[in-house]
């Protein structure tokens, strides 16, 4: 019984982390049509920025804000300033994937060069332990979960109830028709890179605060779960990503509790394989083959 409660509590904690990351990742794909493989390394870069800032400020809100702004800025540079010329040159989807993966490599190894040998350790964020049934969690962890849920609700409100959100959904569904209807699609795309990049940066800060020790490949570990969550939810669909993230969090914490933490990755792999074989809708070629990248 206590194992079940533990699993659910920690599953929600790690699930909210995966979910908020997956929402940013899947928004990027859904609206800009770019599968951003550099997403994992950008998460790591945000951890590094958070680490530097936390040397002087340990206020959680400040860290999250800095991470969000940093993630938004670097994603904007990647998505608009770097990818823009490639798209105008006619680079197609696979070419874009090769570009983003190499950008990711450059970020990852730049961080490795900065980091040097050995792990870095995030400063402990002050907080006090709280008992939920038998599970002991820190107040800062609860705050992070609250932040994740607040951001997901914010994304929901943005997409559902604002004119900008309507324009985003229209751009996602049919960019050409949207432009014909007077939607400034290039500005919508730029805004999407900023918002999803901010979510990416916040994800990095949450990951850094909750794991403590980190290195230049830490973001890649979370990226596996984020991609799995996006695939479960149907890529390009923010609500699917939220559900997928929570499912992945619960499943992976359950695996860690029942079998071994080493099997988390195996479970993510199994989830990807099962979804690809059983319900590839939303990621199958038919759904997305006709879509084009435009700036």
């Amino acid at each position: 019984m206590s194992l079940l409660v533990d699993t659910i509590v920690f599953g929600i904690i790690s699930g909210s982390l995966v979910a908020i990351g997956a929402v940013g990742f899947t928004m990027q794909y859904g609206i800009t049509n770019v599968l951003n493989i550099a997403y994992g390394p950008i998460i790591t870069a945000a951890i590094f920025i958070g680490y530097v800032v936390s040397q002087s400020v340990t206020n959680l809100a400040v860290l999250l804000l800095v991470g969000g702004v940093f993630g938004a800025a670097i994603s904007y540079v990647l998505g608009i300033i770097l990818l823009g010329p490639f798209v105008r040159r006619g680079t197609k989807l696979v070419g874009i994937a090769i570009v983003t993966v190499n950008v990711g490599l450059m970020i990852e190894f730049s961080l490795e060069a900065i980091q040097g040998p050995g792990l870095l350790t995030f400063n402990e964020i002050p907080g006090s332990p709280v008992h939920i049934a038998n599970a002991i969690v820190n107040t800062s962890q609860i705050a992070l979960v609250a932040v994740s849920f607040a951001l997901m609700i914010a994304v929901h409100l943005l997409l559902r109830y604002t004119r900008v959100g309507l324009a985003m959904r229209a751009t996602s569904a049919d960019p050409t028709l949207s432009r014909g209807c007077g939607i400034p699609t290039s500005r919508i795309r730029a805004l999407t890179w900023l918002i999803s990049g901010a979510l990416c940066g916040v994800t990095g800060i949450i990951l850094g605060v909750s794991t403590g020790a980190f290195e230049s490949t830490t973001g890649n570990g979370l990226f596996i779960l984020i991609v799995a969550a996006a695939i479960v939810g149907g890529i390009g669909r923010p609500y699917g990503a939220m559900i997928g993230g929570m499912v992945l969090g619960l499943i992976s914490e359950g695996t860690a509790a029942v079998w071994s933490p080493a099997l988390k990755d195996v479970v993510a792999c199994a989830v990807i394989v099962v979804i690809l074989l059983w319900r590839p809708q939303g990621i199958a070629a038919d759904y997305s083959a006709t879509r084009v990248i435009a700036q």
Binding site: F86, V94, V101, N102, V103, E112, A113, V266
Partner: protein, 353 residues
């Protein structure tokens, strides 16, 4: 120095086999195999396990699956077979009509997962420490000095490389190779022309996987050690950079790219004066490799030596099905980058001379 030169040449042969294998998948068949290094690692692991002997020998200080003393060429064949089977299994999941970039990200994530599992499970591959003391083949039977052995091993690698080259040249020029390029350039047209797209891609994927296994097995028998940390996902992109720089779907171009990028570039930096802590230059090398790919993707996506436009002698029969396929022949070089309406597209005609 002689020792060093022979080592570099052996690694060159290994990288050539691997780069050609990746090029068959990426260049000819258009499969974005971002997990290529996993198949090389699987081949290498298999080859080491079947030549190491039982895991309880030597005090059982390393644990692995299986273990036996197979004679010389068998470990390499076993590595090729296992890598091929793994490619068939992965291909059955990942090649199911996913969009190109999606296929790429799924394979990349599988590559990351494979590393994670290999490092976490001690019983499977001895964890992050990996395997060591893998015996060199025939080292006792030949009775050579270690330097002589180097050159003999180089000869064996060169022989294998030549074999792979002839094999791939044969494939590229065969109807099978034409079908692969047709699938790559226009999947719908190839399917409409009666080609089994999934089977063709699968065959290319498995052949490339077998070649990856071969390169891994030959390498591991040379360096005598195997660890998950030396087969990480960036290695795939060193090879991919070689293919992109040299020129995809051009065996000679890929060979030049391999000599330029993974060999010359990575070896020359060893002679630079060391700056900072050990490993700093290695990290910076990867940053430069990423930058190199971006530069080529922007200014010369077809590589230094672009794929040759193939011309066919006119034939009276069989033109109905293949005509449509041939017309899209050179669209691929344009499809990855190249400005719209470039000379490549304009010159693309199916007309046989």
């Amino acid at each position: 120095m002689s020792y060093y030169i022979s080592s570099v040449l052996i690694v060159t042969c290994v990288d050539l086999i691997a780069a050609w294998g990746l090029d068959l998948q990426f260049g000819s068949a258009g499969i974005n195999n971002f997990a290529f290094i996993v198949f090389a690692a699987a081949g290498a692991y298999t080859a080491s396990v079947v030549s190491l002997g039982s895991s309880s020998a030597l005090g059982g200080f390393q644990s692995y699956v299986g273990g036996s003393h197979w004679p010389f060429p068998l470990p390499i064949l076993a590595g090729m077979a296992v890598a091929g089977l793994l490619a068939a299994a992965v291909g059955a999941v990942a090649l199911r009509r996913l969009r190109g970039d999606y296929e790429a990200i799924v394979l990349l994530v599988l590559s990351l997962i494979a590393t994670g599992v290999a490092q976490a499970e001690i019983g499977l591959v001895n964890g992050p420490a990996g395997l060591s003391l893998i015996p060199k083949p025939l080292v006792t039977g030949l009775g050579l000095s270690s330097l002589q052995y180097q050159w003999v091993y180089l000869g064996w690698c060169a022989f294998l490389t030549a074999l792979v080259f002839l094999f791939l040249r044969r494939i590229v020029r065969s109807p099978f190779g034409r079908n692969l390029r047709a699938v790559r350039d226009n999947e719908a047209a190839a399917a409409a022309g009666g080609r089994n797209v999934f089977a063709l891609r699968m065959q290319a994927f498995v052949i490339g996987g077998v070649l990856a296994g071969l390169s891994g097995a030959v390498l591991v028998e040379f360096v005598n050690a195997w660890a998950p940390g030396s087969w990480l996902y960036p290695e795939t992109f060193a090879l991919l950079t070689a293919v992109i720089v040299g020129g995809r779907a051009n065996l000679g171009g890929v060979a030049i790219g391999t000599i330029l990028v993974p060999i010359l570039f990575l070896e020359v930096t060893r002679f630079l004066p060391s700056i900072g802590y050990p490993g700093l230059i290695d990290s910076l090398e990867w940053v430069v490799i990423g930058l190199l790919t971006l530069i080529f993707m922007y200014w010369r996506p077809q590589g230094i030596f672009p794929e040759r436009r193939r011309r066919f002698p006119s034939r009276s029969s069989g033109a109905i099905g293949s005509g449509a396929l041939l017309s899209s022949r050179s669209a691929f070089s344009a499809s990855l980058a190249a400005p719209a309406g470039s000379s490549h597209v304009a010159k693309s005609t199916a007309a046989p001379e």
